[in-house]
Structures are given as structure tokens and as C-alpha cells.
């Protein structure tokens, strides 16, 4: 398959680009941040996401979605990245929808997927428990009690967890933290008894939460996918999220590069446009090369999730590792090339740096994914 967007995907990109730059530009993020909006995102915008078909991009038509693929989800995510849009797209339309799609029973899918596609609910995936992404170290306990399970433990860095109606929680039903066997995913209502949530306002002014589970009771049919054998499902869902997030990072880096290029073509010092200086030209050209190489890995990862999902793990690791590293370079060079202006809140480049840091960390950073590649290759 050619590593370029086809005509339909290009049209979708153009639609998403004009919609997001019109309805949810960087200025919208500033309003959410400076207005201290409690929910941290615009429900009105999320409704529009549903109307545009973005909320149901991965959801089949039978469940109310538009039944497109991961490449299309990545196309939307890249434009989200370009505009730094605060939206539950990743948490709800990508991670929660994928968990239900690949692990849900018919009843579970029927209950939730149409609501996601319709923009009626927010979902969130609760995995991390420590400062670094280590899914197999899940310790949150789910013990069998009566007709169901009781959950005890805590999650952190749960994107959109503070507003989620539905939580997909990775829990340990057997084995020890560090083991892949013994993991189970559960569907838990965001307002279930025993769930307490603290919104964590983060550096990028996007949303996450710390959530604790204190004797939270769920029925047996709250288990999503196989009990004790949830690791494979979790990895599959995480890989979808990682690839889509890599696309978002690609948008963050691409836009940071574009606004920096515009700046160096306009700013004058020593009587010259600073873009005339070879030191900035060579660094710009190097950065452009890094971003282009990343693009190839990202589209390949998304295409592989569509065409050959069982073999996607390696290329997803490559894509997320690359996207994290090259976007980090883009925002660092961006701030530096903006000089003193780059340090001011008035210029957008700093906001790109902040988002890049969060997205780099989310779902495994570049080191995590390089390590995964090494393990997959037997060293």
C-alpha cells in the first residue's frame, strides 16, 4: 500500500483542517485555560465532533459510527495536534471505542458504542499507576465477591478521567505486578460508588485525573474481554492509542515547525532576516528531515493497524518513539529560534512545547518504545 493518503483521506484531512482551525484553534485552548473552565473542554465542540463523524470514526455503521479506519483517525488526530485542540477524541473515540470494539460483548458494544459515536458520553482508559507508563505493572486489585468483583487501588494520568461517564479500568485479577498474565479490563461508571476523582490540571492545559477505587463493586458482566487474559486486549487498545497519538504528535511538530519557519522569515536582526543565517538554515533543514522520516513511520503504523493488526506492535513502537523524539526536537528548536519571544506566553510556540511534553509521556515515551523494539528483536 502506498504510504500516502488516498483521495478520500485527503478530503477528510482538508475537512478536519478547516473545521478545527476554524472552530477549535489555539485561541480556544487559551480560553479554556484562562477561563479556568472546570471541565477543561467544550461540550459544544464535542457535539460537533459527533456531527462531523469524528467521534465515531472507528465505530462501525451498525453501531452508529462512520466505520472508517485508523488512518482516518490519525488524519483527525494530526489536525487536533496542529491546533492543540482540547478534546476527548483520543480518550473516547479512540481508546474507549477500541476497547469496546475489540473486547466487548455484543451487549456491551450495543450499550456504549452508539453513545460514543453520538457524542453523548465521554470515556477514559485508566491504566497507569506510577509516573511512567508500565501497563504490566498494574497492581489495582479486582477480587471476586458475590456475583461480581470488588476493585481497590488507584490510577493516575487518566486522560479525561475527571469527566468520563465510562471508565475502562485495567485491573489485576491474578498474578503479581510485572506479570502479563492475570490482567482484566473492567467497565466502571465514572460516578460509581467508591470512585473518587481529582482533576489534574497539567502543563499543557489538557485534561487528566487521578482516580482512586475504594471497594468499588461491579457485576461480573462488567468485565471487558477475558478475565485474567486481558493483556493482549489491553496491548491492542494501547497500540491503537499510541499510533493515533503519534499522528497527533506529528501534527504538533509539523505546526511548531511551520510557525517557527514563518517567524524566522519575518524577524530581523543585524539588518538581516534571521532565516538568512546558515546556522538556522541547517538546523531547520535537519529538523524538517526528522519530521518527514517520522511521517513515514506514522502512516505505516496506522495502515498496519487497518490491514494487519496482529503484526502492528513493532511499527507502532517505531512510530511513537519517532514521533515523540522528532516533535520534542521541533518544539525545542521552535522556542530557541523564537528567541526571547519564545519564552513569552503571548507566542503560541510555548504551548506546542507543553503539549509535546505531555504527548511524549502519554502511552509510553520514546525510550519505552525503543525498549519494546529491542525486546521484540530479542536483545
Amino acid at each position: 500500500m502506498a504510504l500516502v493518503l488516498n483521495d478520500e483521506q485527503t478530503m477528510l484531512r482538508d475537512t478536519a483542517r478547516s473545521f478545527l482551525s476554524g472552530e477549535a484553534p489555539v485561541a480556544a485552548l487559551r480560553q479554556l485555560r484562562d477561563g479556568h473552565v472546570a471541565e477543561g473542554f467544550s461540550r459544544e465542540l464535542w457535539k460537533q465532533f459527533a456531527e462531523m463523524g469524528f467521534a465515531g470514526v472507528l465505530i462501525p455503521e451498525d453501531f452508529g459510527g462512520v466505520g472508517l479506519g485508523h488512518v482516518e483517525a490519525g488524519v483527525v488526530a494530526e489536525e487536533i495536534g496542529r491546533n492543540l485542540t482540547a478534546t476527548p477524541f483520543l480518550s473516547t473515540a479512540v481508546l474507549t471505542a477500541s476497547a469496546l470494539l475489540h473486547g466487548g460483548s455484543d451487549a456491551q458494544k450495543q450499550a456504549w458504542l452508539p453513545k460514543i459515536a453520538g457524542g453523548e458520553i465521554i470515556g477514559a482508559l485508566a491504566v497507569d499507576e506510577g509516573a511512567k507508563h508500565r501497563p504490566e505493572k498494574t497492581a489495582l486489585q479486582a477480587t471476586r465477591t458475590g456475583n461480581g468483583f470488588t476493585l481497590n487501588g488507584a490510577k493516575t494520568f487518566v486522560v479525561d478521567g475527571h469527566v468520563a461517564d465510562l471508565l475502562v479500568v485495567a485491573a489485576r485479577t491474578s498474578g503479581q505486578p510485572g506479570e502479563t498474565q492475570g490482567l482484566t479490563l473492567f467497565l466502571v461508571a465514572g460516578d460509581a460508588s467508591g470512585v473518587s476523582r481529582e482533576r489534574t490540571v497539567m502543563v499543557d492545559a489538557h485534561n487528566a485525573a487521578r482516580i482512586s477505587f475504594d471497594n468499588v463493586q461491579v457485576d461480573a458482566d462488567a468485565a471487558l474481554g477475558p478475565v485474567d487474559g486481558g493483556h493482549e486486549l489491553l496491548e491492542r487498545v494501547l497500540n491503537v492509542g499510541r499510533a493515533v497519538l503519534a499522528a497527533e504528535l506529528s501534527g504538533v511538530g509539523g505546526q511548531a515547525f511551520d510557525i517557527t519557519q514563518a517567524y524566522v522569515k519575518e524577524r530581523s536582526q543585524f539588518g538581516r532576516i534571521i532565516g538568512e543565517f546558515q546556522s538556522l538554515q541547517h538546523r531547520s533543514a535537519h529538523l524538517f528531515s526528522e519530521l518527514e522520516v517520522t511521517r513515514a513511520a506514522v502512516i505505516k503504523a496506522l495502515q498496519t493497524l487497518d490491514a494487519n493488526p496482529d503484526k502492528a506492535a513493532t511499527i507502532v513502537a517505531v512510530a511513537k518513539a519517532r514521533a515523540g523524539a522528532s516533535t520534542e526536537l521541533a518544539v525545542q528548536e521552535g522556542v530557541q529560534m523564537h528567541g526571547g519571544n519564545g519564552m513569552t506566553d503571548a507566542f503560541d510556540i510555548g504551548l506546542y512545547m507543553k503539549r509535546a511534553r505531555v504527548a511524549q509521556e502519554l502511552l509510553g515515551d520514546s525510550n519505552f518504545h525503543a525498549d519494546r523494539l529491542a525486546r521484540a528483536n530479542g536483545y
Partner: protein, 393 residues
């Protein structure tokens, strides 16, 4: 799509039946590379058989038209051939400046007679070409070249000298940039000539390099007579051909950044060893290798994507500079890490055990990657000027 799957199955069956077992192992040293030519050297019969079979199918140049001996494959078919060859571990049957550089230029600028005459022997590996570009006084500033070709009625008379002519002492023919109008501005008096290295007046002098070998030569032309029908394109308009050919040279150099070689982690596992968790017993080296391999996979995809963009007419003309810059820097980085992975084993310069210093010689050879075909700095200048459109570049 069904046709492509049929093609895949047939291609795989043909490769399995026709690629000798000895040609399905990673290349280890320079003698594993086959260059063909009038007096070819083959390390073993398998190399000869593999070249003949692939050449007969035109699969040494899969996307060239069948009318000129090429494989006549579509891009999608060529991708399948490459994927199946990689999957089976098939070596490239032929390394050839004719295929990588001259062929694309002839296909675009050559006359019908020139295409018919020169392309089929390139595909079959029967004529080995070398490149007459750089001169002692014209390196990064290539267009200041001074080698003269005077019009003497029925022929050109060529005088001058070229440098860094790779394998000139082993090549049969040369494609050569010459100055046909010394009074014109430097980019406008250049022509593109082809001639036989056996012509009277051609001599070569190998240059000893830091790798201890002499793949490059200085090449001298002393009253060399070249028939006029061996000029490609329009007289004095050779710079356009020169630049077009350079984009192909850059692509072929950048492909060294791909994964055609033995994976670095295998080399490291052999020399450094694994610890009781099954990880390389040097955790910082392991991290370097993991990051390198991330970049190698991504870069290989970037080359594939560039080909796809070109097929759709959506690629910038200067994109080859990106691939050349990135691929050559990546290959240098790989060899630095390979040396570290080999430790003291990789330091031996003589001895059969070290294959006569294959590792350090290859490492030193890669230092030319970011110089030949235009330095990394020249590529960055080109990217800044032509793609990023930065002022004054």
C-alpha cells in the same frame, strides 16, 4: 489486487527456484558485492548464476521498460519483488552505477538509439560504468569543472582530469561532465559525454584511502577522441542532466541508511553477549542500538514513501537531498555503533579471523557517505533554499 497477489505468489515461487542458497545470506564484505562488467569477477558460481537469471528477467532494473531490457514492472509490482527478496534474504544480484545513476538519466534525456545501445547491457551487468564528475578544483562547487571537450568536427577531443572516480580502474565506460563552451557562464557550457575507458589517452591512478583500499581514482584524459553521437541531450545543456543524475546518485547513497545489512543487535549479541535476562550485556549500548534501529526502520519507510509520492507526482524535486542527508548520516552512525558493538574484536586490521579488518575498513569507508554525491552541508543548503524557501540560501 488479485493480480498483485498472483504476481506475489509467482515472484516468490520464481525466487525460491532461482535464487541460489549462497545468495540468501547477508553480505559480509566487499567481495560479496557483484559489479559485473566486461571482465567480471565472481567469488563463486552462485554470484554469476544469480546475476544471469535476474538480468535475463530484467529484475536488476525492475521498473525500467522491457523494451530496454528492464523488468517493466509497475511500482506496486516492484515493491512486491523487493519485499519478497527481503523476506527470502536474497542479495542484490548487481551493484551498478549504470542502474543507479546513468540509466535514469538516459531514460529521460537519451536518444532512442542511445537507450537501445546502452541500457540492455547495463541491465545484464555486461558493462560497468563509472562517474566522471568531481575534479581536483571542483568538489562541492561541481559546476566550476574544467575538463575540456573541443568540437573537432566529427569528434570531441577531451583533455583534463577527474577525481574520486569510483572504480575507474575497473570500469568499462564513463559518463562524464565536460566543458564544451569555456566562454559561457559556468552552469551553461557543460555537456554530458559517454565514452569507453579503453579509449587511447585515458589513464587512471587509484588513490589510497584511510580504509586502506583504493576504490577511488584520479582519472586523466589526454587527447581522448569521443564520437559525437556519444553526447547525451543538448550540447552545453548538460548541467540539467548532471543535476538529475545527482538526485539518483543521492537516492542510491541514501539507501545505505536502510536495513540491507546484518542487524547491529546481532553483531552486538555476538561480541558483547546477553545477560541472564536476555538483554545485551551493556545497557547503554543497548539503548543506542535500539534508537538506531527505530530510526533505520523509519528511514526505510521514508524512502518507500518518497517513491510513492514521486509516483503520484507529489514530491518536491529536492527531496532526494533529504534522503541523501539522512541516509548517509544514519549509515555513519550505524558504523560507529557497529564498531562499539564489536569492541576490540572490531579493531583488527589484518588476519583471516577479522576478514582482513572488514569491520574497521567498512567503518572508515562510511565517512565518505556524507561527502560523496554532495556533502551533508550542501544537501542542507539545498533543502533550506528549495524546499523551505529560506531567504538568501
Amino acid at each position: 489486487m488479485a493480480d498483485l497477489e498472483t504476481f506475489r505468489a509467482e515472484t516468490r515461487a520464481w525466487l525460491e527456484a532461482n535464487c541460489p542458497a549462497e545468495m540468501r545470506t547477508p553480505t559480509e564484505d566487499e567481495e560479496d558485492t557483484v559489479w559485473g562488467g566486461r571482465n567480471p569477477t565472481f567469488r563463486n558460481d552462485a554470484q554469476r548464476v544469480w546475476l544471469e537469471r535476474m538480468g535475463a528477467k530484467g529484475w536488476t532494473a525492475p521498473e525500467w521498460p522491457a523494451a530496454y531490457g528492464g523488468g517493466g514492472l509497475t511500482r506496486e509490482e516492484a515493491k512486491i519483488l523487493a519485499a519478497e527478496m527481503r523476506d527470502l534474504g536474497c542479495r542484490s544480484p548487481l551493484s551498478s552505477f549504470g542502474i543507479w545513476m546513468l540509466g535514469p538519466a538516459l531514460l529521460k534525456y537519451g536518444s532512442e538509439e542511445q537507450k537501445k545501445k546502452y541500457l540492455p547491457p547495463i541491465v545484464r551487468g555486461e558493462i560497468r560504468w563509472c562517474q566522471g564528475y568531481s575534479e581536483p578544483g571542483a568538489g562541492s562547487d561541481l559546476a566550476s569543472l574544467q575538463t575540456r571537450a573541443e568540437d573537432r568536427g566529427d569528434h570531441f577531443l577531451v583533455n583534463g582530469s577527474k577525481i574520486w572516480t569510483s572504480y575507474a580502474n575497473k570500469a568499462d565506460w564513463i559518463f562524464c561532465l565536460v566543458r564544451t563552451d569555456p566562454t559561457a557562464p559556468k552552469h551553461e557550457g557543460i555537456s554530458f559525454l559517454l565514452f569507453d575507458m579503453a579509449s587511447p589517452g585515458v589513464s587512471t591512478q587509484p588513490i589510497l584511502l584511510i580504509s586502506g583500499s583504493s576504490p577511488f581514482c584520479q582519472t586523466f584524459f589526454d587527447d581522448v577522441k569521443v564520437p559525437k553521437d556519444q553526447l547525451v541531450g543538448i550540447p552545453n545543456k548538460g548541467w540539467e542532466i548532471a543535476k538529475y543524475l545527482l538526485t539518483h546518485e543521492r537516492n542510491s547513497i541514501s539507501s545505505m541508511g536502510g536495513r540491507a545489512h546484518r542487524p547491529v543487535h546481532e553483531v552486538a549479541a555476538q561480541h558483547v553477549g546477553l545477560d541472564d535476562r536476555g538483554e545485551l550485556d551493556d545497557n547503554l549500548l543497548r539503548a543506542q542500538i535500539a534508537r538506531l534501529e527505530v530510526d533505520e526502520i523509519a528511514f526505510e519507510l521514508a524512502m518507500e514513501r518518497a517513491g510513492d509520492m514521486a509516483k503520484r507526482g507529489e514530491i518536491h524535486g529536492a527531496y532526494s537531498s533529504l534522503l541523501k542527508y539522512y541516509g548517509s548520516e544514519l549509515n555513519k552512525r550505524r558504523h560507529e555503533i557497529l564498531m562499539s558493538s564489536g569492541g576490540s574484536d572490531a579493531l583488527e586490521w589484518e588476519s583471516d579471523r577479522s576478514e582482513h579488518g572488514a569491520a574497521p575498513r567498512a567503518w572508515l569507508r562510511t565517512k565518505a557517505n556524507s561527502i560523496e554525491g554532495g556533502t551533508s552541508e550542501v544537501q542542507l543548503n539545498i533543502l533550506a533554499k528549495r524546499i523551505l524557501e529560506l531567504p538568501g540560501a
